[in-house]
């Protein structure tokens, strides 16, 4: 550490190198901390979490009872012991609360004045944060599994919605219409995600084992269907053109948008090159997945080797993205974990599970471990 600091001071090293090394060290030391807590508001399982991309200060959570809660993550008290309090919530008594379980919530990518939530009651609702009123409602014919708004889009305000039907719908927030439909999948769409690199590229994952990459400006079908065997049918056990041998549950782009991670119910996670759709064949081993709806996992940002945090039963597994090595499993929840989000400013991980808890995983402080006998003798 001191070596890094002096190299940075002398100009031998890029300043970013120390930052990345320290971020990686902090991510490797993630654990539960007695000093940090998230207030327990939810009365049923937490399905989704989202941290606002502007400041990284506010977190939204959506529960299985339709309740949406907004937490303030910043520690403004001078004490080390801090509970993340709920600032406000859309409870069961709110006139516009969702009737059934909230599946996805997302902050508006450019400021915290607005957020969107989609639910099993076949609606996507757009909320004004300050007044907690609904600004707009989009109704669909089928239950909504997932929605996503592009974090880098400046030329469009499209929200991609994945429902139980095979068509991906794009809703325009500016005009209030959802007339753009992407056809190509054959079963329900379990996850959608915009690329963080190109504002028109969308990835969708479906229960028919296929993952498709779309350019929404293009009228004729998808760009690429991801094939786990890279076109070599001879290596394939089952039919080609499938991303997994089961339903594809979750999608996550890496923070630079160059790679895409998918998880499926065949207990596998795959890393794809997002520009040509090639399976990089990195082997993560068995990534246990029995979720019947989408699995929300996340990738770290700002470390020297990126990490992916995947809910694995009632624990969270951490893998290195590009080499497939399992770093550790974070144990703490009592029931299955549904979602996790990474706060990249402080390298903290928040996870929500079916046991109604949101746990905060904080980097542990580097305390020297006295394991030499001389130290013990000196202290006694």
């Amino acid at each position: 550490m001191l070596g890094f600091l002096s190299a940075r001071q002398a100009g031998l090293d890029d300043p970013l190198r120390l930052r990345r090394a320290e971020s990686t060290r902090r991510v490797l030391g993630l654990e539960l901390n007695k000093d940090r807590d998230v207030e327990r508001i939810h009365g049923s399982g937490v399905n989704t979490l989202d941290i606002d991309p502007v400041e990284g200060r506010y977190m939204l959570s959506g529960g299985s009872d339709g309740v949406i809660v907004l937490y303030d993550l910043e520690n403004s008290s001078r004490q080390p012991y801090y509970t993340c309090k709920a600032v406000c919530s859309v409870g069961r008594s709110h006139p516009d609360v969702h009737k059934y379980s909230v599946e996805t919530v997302q902050w508006y990518p450019h400021d915290t004045g607005m957020f969107t939530s989609s639910s099993f009651d076949k609606t996507l609702k757009v909320w004004d944060t300050n007044t907690l009123q609904i600004a707009d409602v989009f109704n669909f014919e089928e239950t909504v599994y997932s929605h996503h708004m592009s974090p880098v889009a400046t030329k469009h305000c499209l929200v991609a919605v994945g429902t139980r039907g095979p068509k991906v719908q794009l809703c325009d927030l500016k005009s209030g219409s959802c007339s753009h439909i992407l056809q190509g999948h054959r079963q329900e769409i379990l996850a959608v995600s915009w690329s963080p690199r190109y504002e028109y590229i969308l990835a969708t994952a479906s229960a028919d084992s296929r993952t498709k990459l779309w350019d929404v400006r293009r009228a004729s079908g998808c760009l690429i269907t991801l094939d786990q065997h890279n076109g070599k049918k001879s290596q394939a056990v089952e039919s080609a053109n499938t991303a997994h041998n089961g339903k594809v549950n979750g999608l996550c782009f890496t923070s630079d948008g160059l790679h895409l991670l998918t998880v499926g119910t065949d207990n596998r996670m795959r890393l794809w090159n997002s520009s040509n759709g090639e399976n990089t064949l990195v082997n993560y081993g068995k990534v246990y997945n029995d979720s019947r709806k989408g699995l929300k996992f996340t990738v770290s940002c700002g470390c020297s080797s990126e990490f992916v945090f995947v809910p694995y039963g009632s624990t969270i597994a951490i893998y290195t993205v590009y080499s497939g090595e399992q770093i550790t499993m974070l144990k703490g929840h009592y029931k299955s974990v549904d979602c996790c989000v990474f706060q990249s400013n402080f390298q903290e991980l928040y996870s929500g599970s079916r046991d109604c808890n949101i746990l905060a995983w904080i980097p542990s402080l580097y305390e020297s471990v006295p394991d030499d006998e001389e130290a013990l003798v000196v202290s006694s």
């Binding site: 550490m1 070596g3 890094f4 890029d14 970013l16 190198r17 990345r20 090394a21 320290e22 990686t24 060290r25 490797l28 030391g29 654990e31 890279n230 070599k232 049918k233 001879s234 290596q235 056990v237 089952e238 041998n245 630079d256 160059l258 065949d266 090159n273 520009s275 090639e278 399976n279 990089t280 064949l281 990195v282 082997n283 993560y284 081993g285 068995k286 246990y288 029995d290 020297s304 080797s305 694995y312 039963g313 009632s314 290195t320 590009y322 080499s323 497939g324 090595e325 770093i327 550790t328 542990s364 580097y366 471990v369």
Partner: protein, 292 residues
């Protein structure tokens, strides 16, 4: 748990580990370091040839290689031909340099030396066979062993000619797991009666209309013993108190009658296919059934 984390931490700063030896147990099974070829050679030695009267070539499983080579991606790459990661890594390198950040993808780049070692399948040294009982279960056989056993099995039979033609022309040319109809008729010049003879010989197994898996003649007995043995050894762990067993204790027990292929053979497979979790303890490796 906190001790293990602090061991990971100094690596982030690029320093060497100061403590050695405390975490490497003298493990009867984990002696291997790195190479998939050495792993396959050692596993092939575990195979009980006597049981099959030397009619079957020694088969190792892919999951067993994973238990000996801890990094799965590296093991896959060494076993497979023409890994697409090589081209992918080059394109990643270029796009990384074009971004403003100076990414230090240290674990990724350090694998470049292993890529220079040519993949075994590409060299034609091993064949990978799809064993039908599980999607993931693939057997690995040395090509020489396979060739000698197949020739011995079809000696004097009416299909010997077709089998010899197959071994001479198709095996060296095409290192895939399965073959298509047009590939067999046009590229290699096999007629339909010859293909039927190959299926009768047991060298090909029908997959669906117009495609065949490569197969080992007489492998049915092996698969039967393997599936029963796997369930038997897994049952031994399941019946233990708290559903966990020390590896040394498991290997020291008497093999159940169903595990004809040997305890060590099955334990390698269970560890590699993650049917049991390996927990390193102070008394050695502990095998525990996963809770999920």
């Amino acid at each position: 748990m906190s001790r293990k984390r602090h061991r990971l931490v100094p690596e982030a700063f690029g320093q060497k580990r100061r403590r050695e030896g405390g975490d490497v147990e003298a493990d009867p099974l984990r002696g291997e370091s790195g190479s998939a070829r050495a792993a396959v050679a050692e596993l092939v030695r575990l195979f009980p040839r006597v049981l099959f009267e030397d009619a079957l070539p020694p088969i190792a499983l892919r999951s067993q290689v994973y238990s000996l080579v801890p990094d799965r991606t590296v093991a896959d790459r060494q076993l497979r031909k023409n890994s697409p990661i090589l081209e992918n890594k080059i394109s990643l390198h270029r796009s990384v340099q074009s971004t403003a950040d100076h990414l230090t993808l240290t674990p990724f780049f350090s694998l470049s030396s292993l890529w220079r070692q040519k993949a075994l399948q590409e060299q034609g040294e091993i064949r990978i066979i799809q064993l039908g009982f599980d999607l993931d279960a693939q057997g690995i056989i040395f090509t020489e062993d396979y060739r000698t056993r197949v020739l011995k099995a079809c000696d004097g039979r009416p299909y010997a000619g077709a089998v010899q033609k197959f071994l001479a022309s198709v095996l060296p040319a095409c290192s895939d797991l399965s073959f298509q109809q047009d590939q067999m008729t046009q590229t290699f010049g096999f007629r339909d009666p010859e293909i039927t003879q190959l299926v009768n010989a047991g060298v090909l197994t029908v997959r669906d209309a117009g495609s065949w898996w490569l197969a080992v003649p007489g492998a049915g007995r092996f698969i039967k013993y393997f599936v029963k043995g796997r369930q038997a050894v897994l049952g031994m762990v399941r019946k233990a108190k708290y559903r966990e067993l020390l590896l040394s204790e498991l290997l020291g027990r008497r093999a159940p009658a169903a595990a004809r292929l040997g305890l060590a053979y099955h334990v390698h497979d269970l560890i590699g296919s993650q049917l049991v979790d390996c927990v390193s303890t102070t008394s050695g490796t502990l095998l525990r059934l996963p809770e999920t």
